[in-house]
């Protein structure tokens, strides 16, 4: 298996506070790494550093065999796309879906100007939205639909790594389920490589191949999904797993 992403000794500090403490992490091609942790564990910071939104203080990131530096090229930007938690804020409220998708497609020259409409419809179809959604504004959609649009936008530039930062946490349970199913379909159909962040162990169990646990800026455990949920290596992982409320039998 080839490595899609390698993170080496990544460190981020804010003043005296260490948000990320020498993180080392590897992600194999066409697999999904589930990253769990409680609030303040640094999981979102890690995602933002990999996506190039925050510059790390130390360490390096390799995408394939290419090192990602502070100033990324257009092509490197294209390779990593991200989906965010809050569906109310993840789309520009004053752009239509058409504008949102066209901007991504045209900026990275994915298709010709003449092909933009057709491709946008295809993308919406991928995330199970109707073509007539194109001329609507974000506030006309429900939270789950907006999250689908965000996924379509991220996929539109054909990235080699997709980061999803708590994409279902703000959604109602029924909607959460259908978005998770969408992720599952996309994973099998498109062979996506994905970094999936959640505080919800149930969600992580549903989408991941590998699980990584973070706590207070440090990586506590990396394990295969099957091992992790039955025989976690670290005491903290066990504590997390036992705290999940379960249905009585």
């Amino acid at each position: 298996m080839e490595l899609a992403l390698q993170v080496q000794d990544l460190t981020v500090r804010y003043g005296g506070f260490t948000a990320l403490d020498h993180i080392r992490l590897e992600l194999e091609q066409h697999t999904t790494l589930g990253l769990v942790g409680e609030s303040g564990s640094g999981k979102s910071t890690l995602a933002r550093v990999i996506a190039g939104l925050i510059a790390p203080d130390e360490g390096q990131i390799l995408l394939g065999s290419e090192e990602l530096r502070k100033k990324r090229s257009k092509e490197q930007h294209k390779q990593i796309q991200m989906i965010f938690q809050n569906p109310d804020a993840s789309l520009n409220p004053r752009h239509t879906v058409r504008q949102i998708l066209a901007e991504a497609l045209l900026f990275h020259r994915i298709v010709d100007r003449s092909q933009v409409g057709r491709r946008s419809t295809e993308l919406l179809d991928r995330v199970q939205l109707e073509a007539r959604s194109l001329d609507k504004y974000p506030h006309e959609f429900s939270g789950g639909q907006r999250q689908r649009i965000a996924i379509a936008r991220a996929l539109s530039v054909e990235p080699s790594l997709l980061i999803a930062d708590e994409p279902t946490s703000a959604l109602d349970v029924s909607v959460q389920r259908s978005v998770l199913e969408l992720f599952h379909t996309l994973r099998t159909e498109l062979h996506l490589t994905m970094l999936f962040i959640s505080h919800d162990l149930g969600v992580i169990h549903a989408v991941s191949d590998t699980v990584a646990v973070m706590r207070q800026g440090k990586l506590v455990e990396v394990n295969t999904k099957d091992e992790f949920f039955i025989r976690p290596k670290h005491e903290y992982s066990r504590e997390l797993l036992s705290a999940v409320p379960k249905m009585p039998r």
Binding site: R48, A51, G52, L53, R72, K74, Q76, H77, K78, I80, Q81, M82, F84, Q85, N86, A89, S90, L91, N92, P93, R94, H95, E103, A104, F107, H108, H139, A150, R153, A154, V157
Partner: protein, 289 residues
């Protein structure tokens, strides 16, 4: 009606114009504001055809007359028709008010976006400039500059280019800084869009509505400043009609012909109410979206 169309940043296409019109109808404050402002503008535009008098036409045999059918608002100490002068003054004052806002509005919005979007040192430097300028009482600067650059409109334009942008910069900076934390800006950044493009294509349409609302209030302040300068004798030079000089000309007759000073003041208040309602109405519409 074109007062609103050119203020609406979303540039409605034909389909949207209808819904925009419907929204205006549903927002009484906006509707009243538009009507009040439109009446004023129309009267000011057509006053040469409406009035038999000239603004500076003196008639010493009929001075200080109370309102009558010949002179709707009476005459001043030189026998000039107050109503005619009032609307010619509206032409002067409103033109300056609108023209003087253009450059400050653009620079203020731009600097505010840059400051709020880039943060860090850019923000600190721009904030330092803002803090320095805002330390000088607006009227103090207006008075000094207006005086030094000679009476007339020039002082107002210079002062306003100098300090008028601050209000917009402050509001827009705050907005931009809060938008910056929102995820749609982050996703534009993950696409690799350059900063200037994010500012112009993403931030601008989002900060513009609020900036226009502020513009409405700010125009009231500017109009009041123009009038104040006229009153102090360092604004619009006579014989060009202006509400401020009209108020100060009438002040000696305040006990006998109080309306000479009161009426031009009410004209300013009227304009203020119109712009206030316009601003409130626009804010209402945009808040609902």
């Amino acid at each position: 009606m074109n007062t609103t169309t050119h203020l609406d940043p979303s540039l409605p296409e034909s389909g949207k114009t209808l819904s925009t019109l419907r929204q205006i109808g549903k927002t009484p404050s906006l509707l009243i504001g538009i009507i009040m402002f439109a009446i004023l503008i129309l009267l000011a535009l057509f006053i040469p055809y409406l009035s038999p008098y000239q603004p500076s036409e003196q008639n010493l045999s009929a001075f200080l007359q109370p309102p009558s059918s010949a002179h709707w608002l009476g005459t001043d100490q030189l026998g000039r028709d107050l109503f005619t002068r009032l609307l010619y003054a509206a032409r002067t004052d409103l033109t300056i008010m609108i023209l003087a806002e253009i450059i400050p509005f653009c620079t203020g919005v731009m600097l505010g976006m840059i400051s709020g979007y880039y943060g860090k040192w850019t923000d600190r430097i721009i904030s330092l400039i803002t803090d320095t300028f805002i330390a000088f009482p607006f009227y103090l600067i207006v008075i000094i500059v207006a005086f030094a650059s000679g009476a007339g409109e020039r002082g107002i334009y210079i002062t306003f280019i100098l300090v008028g942008w601050i209000v917009f910069a402050r509001v827009v900076r705050g907005l931009s800084a809060s938008f910056r934390k929102q995820e749609w800006i982050a996703s534009a950044q993950t696409l690799g869009l350059p900063g200037i493009r994010i500012i112009l294509r993403h931030l601008l349409p989002n900060v513009l509505p609020q900036a226009v609302v502020v513009l409405m209030t700010d125009m009231i302040g500017l109009l009041v400043a123009i009038v104040t300068l006229g009153y102090l004798g360092i604004g619009i030079a006579p014989p060009t009609p202006d509400w401020g000089t009209m108020i100060s000309d009438g002040q000696p007759f305040i006990t006998t012909a109080w309306w000479l000073s009161a009426v031009p003041g009410f004209a300013v208040v009227y304009t203020g109410i119109a712009l206030s309602l316009l601003g409130d109405g626009l804010a209402d519409i945009w808040r609902k979206k």
